[in-house]
């Protein structure tokens, strides 16, 4: 199995890659109490670069700062870039206040990608926790758009509660597809929730995939990814066919500021998508 796909030759690593470009907000959507999705287009015509699923942009709120945000839209989209953002600090709160027509600064795309294009013929198992569904979404959309290239497709999504589940309607749409298995679970629910209740790892034994050929792509809080990997291993999927995406404080996104280091890896440049066996040693340590 080849190692993680390196992103197409579109990353902004030439001189001046610390310089944002002006982009414009096209639309804004509230996903849940603290998460929103914005759709952006370049302010200047003809400057849209392709991206690979799993990559991220640095979004700049004027005068406030930048935040690394995964692209959450379809890679086939050649007009706009979609980002799903959780309000966790000053910059993301500033981005939250943007309305259609407002300008935003953007650098990117950066980072490594889900190896989705290397996987024809394989079963795909997507496991998402919370907002982790957002960085997986471009890979899921690609797989669904090229459905016959792949074997079984399983999407397991967990969230804290039904109100917190993002892309809820879309998940239910995917659930309707005859050849896609979608399981949803929440940590706690009221009595009007008829899907699973329990941590997302409990969905894995019930999922229908061939561990001898499947590839898993996992995204969510670190502890969730750790437990998911254990459960996938228990169900016959080795670390070499398991991909995760990691997150760390980023300042430059080009491997220079040192903040995003995780053991020997610069998450902005060697990641954020990693093959699990490549990082398992460091991932199983505390406070790396």
């Amino acid at each position: 199995m080849s190692s993680v796909l390196h992103p197409p030759d579109a990353s902004a690593l030439q001189a001046g890659s610390m310089l944002p470009e002006p982009w414009v907000v096209v639309s804004r959507l509230e996903e849940n109490a603290d998460t929103f999705t914005i759709e952006l287009r370049p302010a200047e015509e003809g400057t849209l670069r392709p991206f690979a699923p799993g990559q991220f942009n640095m979004l700049y709120a004027f005068g406030t700062g930048e935040s690394a945000i995964s692209i959450s839209g379809s890679p086939e989209n050649s007009d706009t870039r979609v980002h799903t953002i959780r309000r966790v600090g000053t910059v993301t709160s500033a981005l939250d206040r943007l309305a259609p027509g407002d300008t935003i600064g953007l650098r990117g795309p950066f980072g490594s990608a889900w190896p989705i294009e290397e996987l024809p013929g394989r079963d795909l198992v997507f496991v998402a926790g919370g907002i982790g569904l957002a960085p997986l979404r471009p890979a899921i959309l690609h797989a669904l758009a090229h459905r016959k290239d792949y074997g079984r497709i399983v999407i397991l999504a967990g969230a804290r509660s039904p109100e917190d589940l993002i892309f809820h309607d879309e998940l239910l749409e995917w659930k309707e597809e005859p050849d896609v298995e979608v399981k949803l679970t929440v940590d706690r629910a009221g009595i009007d929730w008829y899907h699973h209740v329990g941590v997302v790892t409990t969905l894995i034994p019930q999922a229908d995939f061939d561990p001898a050929n499947a590839v898993a792509m996992v995204c969510g809080p670190e502890i969730m990814m750790r437990f998911t990997a254990v459960e996938l291993n228990k169900n016959g999927l080795p670390d070499s066919r398991l991909f995760v995406t990691l997150e760390r404080n980023m300042k430059c996104a080009v491997g220079i500021c040192g903040h995003c280091q995780f053991g020997p890896e610069f998450i902005c440049r060697d990641g954020p998508v990693f093959r699990y066996d490549h990082i398992h040693h460091w991932f199983s340590q505390r406070e790396v």
Binding site: M18, F62, V88, G89, K251, H281
Partner: protein, 383 residues
């Protein structure tokens, strides 16, 4: 060890080197005494150098002492390194403007005209450190334009050490004490003081170095001069203040991330970040976005940062490396272990600054030795 023949420059003529560099439009910077230390600053004349001074260094201890002779380069290294010129402590990256319609424009904020510096007095460890930072900033996939524009104008004059410092271990790291072809340089100098003579043996390391040498009132160095210079270097090599067994250190630290020694050093470490500030290879930075009072003009500034700070790994309301233990471990495993994975060399040049300038005298050579003594995962004996 270049193939260029060494030349001899008498002490009285040393000023001619500064003059030749100035004629070529270089701004000469190098060691000078200030505030009880030896720092790097502009040198206009030979007397600006720390003539007759040496530095007494130990864990958490630095004092300048008078020498018995009038050596120009009779010290080891001060708290500063040459990175302050190439990787500025504070740098404006971006200027952003927003007009009344909300439209934004971004321009490169680094408008400083790069200075043509001549770095006079680069110790071998420092030349190695510069080479290491070249790899960091200019190596595969990361061309930092700010470093690049400053770096390409440098004229480097290396000085081999005749005496080792109390915290030096360049021999262990393979980075000195002699300036050799291992590190590209324009000129290499060794200072020799004998009973009745005081002179410099110089070799060119580049075409431009050769040109400069040709302008000096230097004569070919005789075998006795060359051997005297060699003896000075050998003396330095045999009097190192510290040593570190570097065999397999990359694996040693990687396999001992839960070694009790980390807890031990965490009791002593203040996470003050001195070590990262004085280290010639540390390169981490942070950014700060600021606006003016109108809110329509913003700038992004970059400044040195340290992995020892609590908010270095701040994200979503918490730090990934909360404990002092994890932050010390990060620094040391990066410097001695994961640097190899990232940049194919050690990050440490054995200059000893981190030992000297640590307020509590933590000595990384001792920390490594302690981990090695009770290695939890000894590597197989085959390499």
């Amino acid at each position: 060890m270049t193939t260029d023949p060494p030349v001899l420059l008498p002490r009285e003529q040393f000023g001619s080197l500064l003059e030749a560099l100035a004629r070529r439009g270089y701004r000469v910077v190098g060691p000078t005494v200030r505030d009880g230390t030896i720092v790097y600053d502009d040198l206009t004349k030979v007397e600006d150098l720390p003539i007759g001074w040496k530095d007494e260094q130990e864990g958490g201890h630095y004092r300048l002492k008078r020498r018995e002779d009038e050596a120009l380069f009779g010290y080891v290294v001060g708290p500063e390194s040459w990175k302050k010129y190439l990787h500025p402590q504070r740098l404006r990256l971006v200027k952003a403007e927003r007009d009344t319609s909300g439209h934004m424009t971004f321009t490169d904020g680094d408008e400083e005209e790069p200075v043509r510096y001549a770095f006079l007095g680069m110790k071998s460890c420092e030349l190695n450190a510069m080479m290491i930072q070249d790899k960091v900033f200019l190596g595969s996939g990361t061309a930092d334009s700010h470093y690049e524009r400053r770096r390409k104008n440098i004229f480097s004059i290396g000085v081999s050490c005749g005496e080792a410092g109390g915290t030096c271990f360049c021999v262990s790291m393979g980075t000195g004490p002699e300036v050799t072809d291992q590190t590209p340089h324009d000129l290499a100098v060794t200072e020799v003081i004998e009973d009745t003579s005081h002179y410099f043996v110089l070799t060119a390391g580049s075409d431009e170095g050769r040109e400069v040498l040709n302008e000096l009132p230097a004569t070919p160095a005789g075998p006795e001069h060359v051997s005297a210079a060699k003896q000075r270097v050998e003396h330095a090599a045999s009097t190192m203040g510290r040593r570190m067994d570097t065999g397999g250190v990359r694996e040693l630290l990687r396999e001992n991330l839960e070694h009790p020694q980390w807890e031990d050093v965490a009791q002593r470490c203040l996470t003050c970040a001195n070590c990262t500030m004085v280290c010639p290879t540390c390169f981490c930075t942070t950014v700060e976005d600021v606006t003016d009072l109108t809110g329509d003009n913003a700038e992004r500034w970059r400044s040195w940062d340290s992995c020892f700070t609590l908010d270095f790994t701040w994200m979503h309301g918490g730090s990934a490396r909360q404990s002092a233990k994890s932050r010390y471990r990060q620094w040391l495993t990066h410097k001695l272990s994961t640097w190899h994975d990232q940049f194919q060399s050690s990050g440490c040049v054995g200059c000893g600054r981190c030992i000297t300038w640590c307020p509590v005298g933590i000595d990384l050579t001792q920390e490594v030795a302690a981990i090695r003594e009770k290695d939890n995962h000894p590597a197989p004996t085959t390499s």
